[in-house]
Symmetry: C2
Subunit: 270 residues, 2 copies
């Protein structure tokens, strides 16, 4: 949904207890396992209140027609391209190249006017800072170009799916490295997602198995994204994740696995 | 620098103590105040090991010429446009529109082929998930288009600056709302950055002062970005932040204010 449609609690200013903030946390978030994996609802529920802002489409119109046309892609098209693209320019580029490159070839302009390599910066959670997983940055860029405002719903749903799914799923026909583990991230953050997998696999970040995991995960994220885009272009897509704002009592942009970072030390609402 | 140039520790697989991992943490990170504000070196030092990968530029070449041409912009051009653009489509769009819109007007194509509105998804740390501050997502998109591989250095340096600076700085000639606080985020994450400011100002997220803070901060980030792009196009830019990888013993993509989330419970290296 467009954020203009997002409505949230207005933040009363009173101090909320951890129990009020996260009524399920004590039950479901023990041991750093966030709500996402339990509720099956991803991390939706901690959003922006930007529906409160004076948003208009005012002078934000680009000279180029937008959203861009989309022809359906199959998982068998994007998975191997994303996997191989990771080994060229890493996670964000893997997702953008696996979706936008076939559209450059199948549709041409406006896709051919966009330098896909310009998205490489998303790797490692933004040039290695460990923030948003670069695959999800790639999803945001791609769905923003293809689906306009609806792209925010699709990104939100891919992020929900990412946080609750045991990944990686994709098995390349000719793997560069054998790996044995899958893990649920409970977070869209590179640092947390890859760190949990590394701990389960027992390998450091600078290892071939870790690279293989990220390459396969890139294929998974690309396949999930085109599956939702295909439903969307067929008129069959319904946003599933829901507004982050509507589900969080103070409307902070955040995740619901709060205790994983905060423990019991949840800051009170201003 | 391009990540192909980034080299890092290779992760020996042995268990590292918290002291080994973060030798300054006990001294400098007390009370959740990360290293960034103390060292003046941002959060650089926790990066990817992607220099280890078999990166090539192989089939990643776009049909469109890239990087895109750049004509210098002034802070007085981008600050008011970023500020006003936040109230249209929020933080990520505020930065991309304040830089790319003047370039559409001054240069035309290829900028006019890019729908700036497609970047709106970055708001609230990616559709409200509280991850990478949308202003910094905007910087990544813009510097990726304009500066190519050097854009990663510029993004890294803007992120360093963002984490150690008392923001917001910009004072609009006609503020929509009066605010009184500035805060140092010690993090590029929306959730942490805006949360610290909200706590200092004593306002909830769904408040006009919070929106004003984010609009002014967008102007600050846009101004910092064009300042570095102007130096870069003049051949005067030198990357300052340094590789995240070179400064972190296990090369995890992360920040250096580790105890702010982990406390003393720093996971050992696999």
């Amino acid at each position: 949904m467009d954020t203009q449609q997002r409505t949230g609690t207005d933040g009363t200013g009173r101090t909320l207890s951890r129990r009020e903030l996260f009524p399920l946390a004590g039950k479901f978030a023990v041991g750093g396992v966030g709500l996402a994996a339990v509720t099956g609802f991803g991390l939706a529920g901690c959003g922006t209140d930007e529906s409160q802002s004076t948003g208009t489409t005012g002078n934000g119109t680009s000279p180029s027609a937008w959203p861009w046309p989309y022809d359906k892609l199959s998982s068998s098209q994007v998975q191997p391209l994303a996997y191989e693209s990771w080994y060229e320019k890493f996670c964000c580029y893997a997702v953008t190249n696996s979706i936008l490159r076939p559209l450059q070839e199948n549709i041409g302009a406006p896709y051919t006017n966009f330098p896909i390599e310009s998205t490489k910066w998303g790797h490692g959670g933004a040039v290695g800072w460990g923030t948003l997983c670069g695959t999800l940055t790639g999803v945001g860029i791609v769905t923003g170009l293809i689906a306009g405002g609806d792209g925010e719903d699709i990104l939100n749903d891919v992020m929900n799916w990412y946080t609750v799914s045991a990944l990686p799923i994709y098995e390349p026909p000719e793997p560069k490295t054998a790996i044995s583990s899958v893990s649920v991230s409970d977070s869209p953050l590179c640092h947390i997602s890859v760190g949990k997998w590394m701990a389960k696999e027992g390998v450091p970040f600078a290892s071939d198995p870790r690279k293989e995991r990220c390459a396969r995960l890139s294929a998974d994220v690309a396949a999930k994204t085109v599956a939702l885009l295909n439903d969307w272009v067929d008129g069959k897509y319904t946003a599933g994740g829901g507004s982050q704002v509507k589900k969080h009592p103070v409307g902070m942009p955040t995740q619901n696995n709060c205790v994983e970072c905060h423990g019991d030390n949840i800051p009170s609402s201003p």
